[in-house]
């Protein structure tokens, strides 16, 4: 007896099911399923965890156990429309990465890890974005922002406030 789904849409379920032939176990779909939900909702609420578990024949605790291991997934609240990862790793730190993170957070009025009250932007520190040749850098959505300066950070914030990503 399948309970009525509250969070997962038919489209999400279809996307998850389409990946099933790729893996010999349903549990292997845990990360892909979490990503599919997170891509849409910018969070994976507890109800979605239960529904994913049902779809994959797992206990909700198994899905939740996996989810909480990875720093990527937001659960209780969605991240902002734009999610910016600012690198705090060695190469970026040596070229002013921490100052850029501070500058962005101060201008946006939030602390690292927080979302602006209007829900437009979340700023999170990242370990290494693999773009050390363009340090300091930031990943916002699919865009890599290279050789960041406070001026470039301001331009980015203006673009976010203007509704662009």
């Amino acid at each position: 007896m399948i309970a009525q789904r509250k969070v997962l849409t038919d489209e999400m379920v279809a996307k998850i099911e389409a990946l099933m032939p790729r893996y010999p176990t349903k549990q292997a779909l845990t990360l892909p399923a979490l990503h599919i939900v997170h891509d849409e909702l910018r969070q994976v609420p507890l109800d979605a965890v239960v529904e994913i578990a049902q779809l994959l024949d797992l206990a909700p605790a198994e899905v939740q156990d996996t989810l909480t291991f990875y720093q990527f997934f937001h659960q209780e609240k969605p991240h902002g429309k734009v999610r910016a990862f600012v690198c705090r790793s060695i190469s970026c730190a040596l070229r002013g990465g921490e100052q850029v993170l501070d500058h962005l957070c101060t201008k946006a009025g939030i602390k690292p890890g927080e979302t602006t009250p209007d829900g437009s932007l979340t700023i999170e520190p990242a370990e290494c974005l693999g773009a050390c040749d363009f340090a300091p850098c930031m990943l916002a959505g699919d865009d890599l922002h290279k050789d960041l300066t406070p001026e470039k950070a301001d331009q980015f914030l203006n673009a976010v406030r203007g509704g662009a990503s």
């Binding site: 190469s91 070229r95 370990e127």
Partner: protein
């Protein structure tokens, strides 16, 4: 360094080339010809032998002989056998995987297909870190092209060999670059490290024999097939054969990728290619091999870029990431960073790593604050030794190397605050 500077890249040929990522461009450079030739002419054991005799070693950091790793798979296994492509490049200071995935994804795919043929794997998963959306797009586009051109799927080029390659997205966990953690993650679990044995070759993904190879390792395979094992073996020094795209970053004038053969000195890389520090101040230390690599003082910069030469000075070449620091950097804080990084990224499975790293940060803070520095330095040394001896994987087992090297070579930085 003249030889190195005129060295023609074999791996990074297409980097920066317009449309270099397309199948058409890859084929125009001779791509997929080695694959077609071997499917028609060579049996899997011959390919394994070629890779073995080329001297190719794992480029993800451990430097284990690639061909030898493949021979650990059980013979005559009915299958399935899995090949996992480790594209979870997360070591701070490394980016050669990303650039190759974006600029020449077909080279990686061809290497993966050849390696799957050699190991009789029927499915390959590319475990790609979340932070590389452009690599995802480039790889997926290349996979689609390869299927359409008949290089993937059933009965590839009429050889009877079949292979599917799937992209699998990580979720921002550094530890998933460790091969057993990667397998756990692929299975949909927490990315906690598995004890070895069993080796993944015996009992890996979904309990089946599995090979895990790094992106650069696999991309080197078509080069070996095209030019011959002897040619590849002719580059390098000692037991480090072939080429590696070294990554220059940190306080360096010219950051970027430099593909050279093993054996050149670190000094050559730093000065001939890197052009010295970006700040113009004297260079104080260099970290090679990511956050688990030692900090090297000037006296050690004439060390050849060679796995064994680095091991001999308790350092590691790893994946070839090179990060330079100028004389304004406080090495006690870099040591602290190493422990803090481990505390944040530890999978939590074993105690020396999970708790040792947290205690490591605290002890370094006490030393720097002048709280019984001698006693605490001894304690830190003991803690490092415990982590090295007792950790399950390289994360906890090698985090002490940067810490110990900072203590040994830059001891004054740990006590500077008190003397000020």
């Amino acid at each position: 360094m003249t030889d190195s500077q005129t060295f023609q890249p074999v791996l990074l040929e297409a980097v920066g080339v317009e449309q270099g990522h397309s199948l058409e461009s890859y084929r125009s450079r001779g791509g997929y010809a080695p694959l077609e030739k071997l499917l028609a002419e060579k049996q899997p054991p011959e390919v394994v032998e070629m890779v073995k005799s080329s001297g190719l070693r794992g480029r993800g950091g451990a430097g284990f002989m690639t061909g030898l790793k493949w021979t650990f798979l059980p013979k005559d296994h009915p299958g399935p056998i899995y090949l996992c492509v480790n594209a979870d490049e997360s070591e701070p200071g490394t980016f050669n995987n990303r650039i190759l995935m974006e600029d020449d994804p077909h080279q990686i795919l061809e290497g993966t297909i050849i390696s799957a043929y050699a190991t009789r794997a029927s499915t390959a998963y590319i475990y790609l870190r979340y932070e590389y959306p452009q690599s995802w797009k480039a790889l997926q586009a290349a996979i689609d092209e390869a299927y359409a051109a008949g290089y993937l799927g059933q009965n590839i080029k009429g050889s009877g060999f079949s292979l599917d390659i799937y992209l699998h997205r990580g979720a921002a966990a550094y530890i998933c670059g460790e091969e057993t953690s990667l397998l756990e993650s692929l299975e949909g679990k927490r990315g906690e490290v598995r004890p070895k044995p069993p080796l993944p070759a015996i009992e890996g993904l979904f309990g089946e024999p599995t090979v895990v190879n790094n992106v650069i390792t696999l991309a080197s395979v078509p080069v070996i097939l095209a030019d011959g094992a002897e040619q590849y073996q002719s580059y390098g020094a000692g037991r480090s054969r072939g080429t590696l795209p070294f990554q220059l970053a940190g306080n360096i004038k010219q950051a970027g990728l430099v593909e050279i053969a093993f054996g050149a000195t670190l000094n050559g890389l730093l000065h001939d290619f890197g052009g010295g520090t970006r700040s113009g101040r004297p260079m104080k230390a260099v970290q090679v091999g990511g956050p688990l690599g030692a900090y090297l003082p000037r006296e050690q910069w004439d060390t050849p870029l060679d796995y064994e030469a680095f091991a001999a000075i308790e350092a590691m070449l790893g994946h070839g990431g090179v990060v330079a620091f100028d004389d304004t950097v406080d090495m006690s804080q870099q040591a602290r960073f190493a422990m803090e990084f481990c505390a944040i990224e530890s999978c939590g499975k074993c105690t020396p790593c999970r708790i040792g790293s947290v205690r490591g940060v605290e002890v370094i803070d006490r030393i720097v604050a002048g709280d019984r520095p001698h006693e605490n330095i001894t304690l830190l040394e003991e803690l490092c030794d415990t982590m090295i001896a007792g950790s399950l994987c390289a994360m906890g087992g090698m985090t002490p190397f940067p810490v110990k090297s900072a203590l040994r070579h830059f001891a004054a930085d740990f006590t500077a605050a008190q003397s000020r």
